[in-house]
């Protein structure tokens, strides 16, 4: 499809966009001016649109030799002061994991969109899956936190990409939009408001860039070229960035802080949505495209007078533990439908005492509402 010149850095009004295109527009609106990537199905349209839009708004776009180089370029661009992003799918996401750990440990703001396909490995390139929900949290070694969203529409691909940039800048952490093929390729009405809220990383001259007084603080972030003395290393480092690879206290403090700066702010980060839970006996806990099927199924059963409700996770990481725990006290059973073998269901089980039923489908197709309805009938 030919791309027409859009001429404005920030679109306003109503558009008909695929999820991938909407995410690119969200990135441009959020102030992203650097993209490095390697095309991969089903995320390529995002890269294609960024190539076009970054040229229009005076940003930088590079097609790299692979995904490892892509994420490394993104991290470098972020330290040079740019809001930077990349997008990929499972195989590329696997390649990026080492550098994602580097970004987390060096507290580098960056945004990664993973348009998930049916894995493992090369799997079914054009087919849907959501098998990277755990990898996004645990893919790199060591203890670290990230922020990850799960969009269910083109609108949320736009909104969550902006949120990912905002929170990434605020907390100096890699932030992820965990889309799936069905959402990336879904084309929907996207309404873009007149004004959007944009957050930028804090800057303060002469303040150490890798340590704070508070145990869960976020230090200001200088860029190369601003005149600050700046060392960035993936080895354990003190507040000034000097390598401290033998000091137990420095290591413990740093690892604690990069975790606590996210975990202690869960309430500000985490978002969930509830449907018909007031009197529900059984609930669906759902996310991503599958939540569209779930909502349809729940509404259908409600019409039959069945007491079923739904909680949707908009944020997957940090995990909405309190909300899920409350849900577990309210209902008898929770059904978790997923396009993987129960990745998020396992997490749910950590926080509830009621019965959790995992409903899985890994055939490269979306879970249709009829199937979810059928599963719900079995447990109602």
């Amino acid at each position: 499809m030919p791309l027409k010149s859009l001429q404005s850095s920030f679109l306003k009004g109503t558009f008909y966009l695929s999820g991938n295109e909407a995410s690119a527009e969200g990135a441009i609106a959020a102030g992203c001016r650097f993209y490095a990537g390697y095309p991969i199905t089903p995320s390529s349209e995002l890269m294609e649109r960024m190539a076009f839009r970054l040229r229009e708004v005076g940003g930088v776009f590079i097609q790299m030799e692979d995904e490892i180089a892509s994420i490394c370029a993104v991290i470098g661009a972020s330290w040079a002061g740019a809001k930077a992003m990349t997008a990929t799918s499972g195989p590329g996401f696997s390649l990026m994991q080492e550098a994602i750990g580097y970004a987390a440990f060096t507290e580098t703001p960056c945004v990664i969109v993973d348009v998930q396909r049916a894995g493992p490995c090369t799997g079914q390139a054009t087919r849907v899956g959501s098998g990277d929900m755990m990898q996004v949290k645990w893919g790199s070694h060591g203890d670290y936190q990230i922020i990850a969203f799960s969009p269910w529409s083109s609108q949320e691909m736009y909104d969550f990409t902006i949120k990912a940039f905002n929170l990434s800048e605020k907390y100096r952490v890699p932030a992820f939009v965990m889309a799936d093929e069905a959402v990336g390729h879904l084309r929907e009405t996207v309404r873009i408001p007149e004004k959007i809220e944009i957050w930028n990383r804090k800057k303060q001259k002469g303040i150490p860039p890798f340590g704070t007084e508070e145990a869960d603080g976020v230090p200001p972030m200088p860029s190369f070229g601003e005149g600050e003395r700046l060392l960035v290393t993936g080895s354990t480092h003190d507040a000034l960035g000097y390598r401290k690879t033998d000091d137990p206290e420095v290591h413990s403090k740093l690892v604690q802080r990069i975790n606590l700066k996210i975990l202690n702010h869960r309430k500000e980060i985490v978002e969930t949505e509830e449907y018909f839970l007031e009197d529900a006996e059984v609930a669906i806990l759902s996310y991503g495209f599958t939540a569209r099927s779930s909502l349809y199924a729940v509404k259908g059963l409600r019409k039959e007078g069945r007491r079923v409700g739904m909680m949707r996770l908009k944020t997957i990481w940090p995990f909405p533990d309190e909300k899920v725990s409350e849900l577990g006290k309210k209902v008898r059973k929770i059904l978790v439908p997923e396009m993987n073998l129960g990745q998020v269901a396992g997490e749910v089980k950590k926080y509830v005492t009621c019965e959790v039923i995992s409903f899985n489908q890994t055939n490269g197709e979306i879970i249709r509402p009829e199937k979810i309805k059928e599963e719900l009938r079995k447990i109602l």
Binding site: T126, S153, H185, E188, S293, L295
Partner: protein, 182 residues
């Protein structure tokens, strides 16, 4: 639930199935509707059976793929054979290419043959715009989106070089629709 229309455009990859769906969805968005669209992807969209699905609604769309089919456009026999059974009985509508599809007579669905490919070749010397002839006929008969919005959609998504041809095909489709309808 307010009124929702579920439309499937189907045929061979290369017949403009994906573009027809894109234009229909874009026109719906221009008309201020909530629209969800999806289509065949990858190798399917290039040669074999191909489909494009649109949900048009006055309220937010819960499930964005099709649950049933209100309107089916079948541009090939294969597509017709595969999808005619899913069209809603009584209220449903099938538009098929008159010269490429032999319809089943026993269906309890309104079926209308459109000489889309024939007219595209005869009147516009280009069979590639049969998809747009279908859209013209469909919109004239059903008004699921406004003709103005579809013209705007064509100007947004079709390159300048082929825009006049596509607009002519749309007008031709509207004339066909008018003849059949009234």
């Amino acid at each position: 639930m307010t009124q929702t229309q579920q439309i499937r455009v189907s045929g061979f990859g290369g017949q403009g199935v994906v573009l027809a769906g894109l234009l229909l969805g874009q026109a719906g968005a221009i008309d201020g509707k909530y629209v969800s669209g999806s289509n065949s992807y990858g190798a399917q969209a290039r040669g074999s059976g191909c489909k494009s699905e649109i949900v048009l609604s006055e309220s937010p769309v819960d499930f964005p793929h099709l649950i049933g089919v209100d309107i089916l456009i079948a541009m090939s026999q294969g597509a017709y054979d595969l999808y005619h059974g899913e069209v809603r009985e009584d209220s449903g509508l099938i538009l098929y290419d008159q010269d490429l599809v032999v319809p089943k007579e026993s269906l309890k669905v309104k079926q209308i043959g459109i000489p889309a490919t024939h007219l595209a070749i005869k009147r516009l010397k280009n069979k590639q715009v049969a998809n747009i002839v279908f859209l013209g006929a469909l919109i004239e008969m059903t008004r699921i989106v406004s003709p103005k919005a579809l013209q705007k959609a064509i100007s947004m998504h079709v390159t300048e070089r082929f825009r006049p041809l596509n607009l002519k095909a749309f007008k031709l489709g509207i004339d066909v629709g008018r003849e059949i309808h009234g």
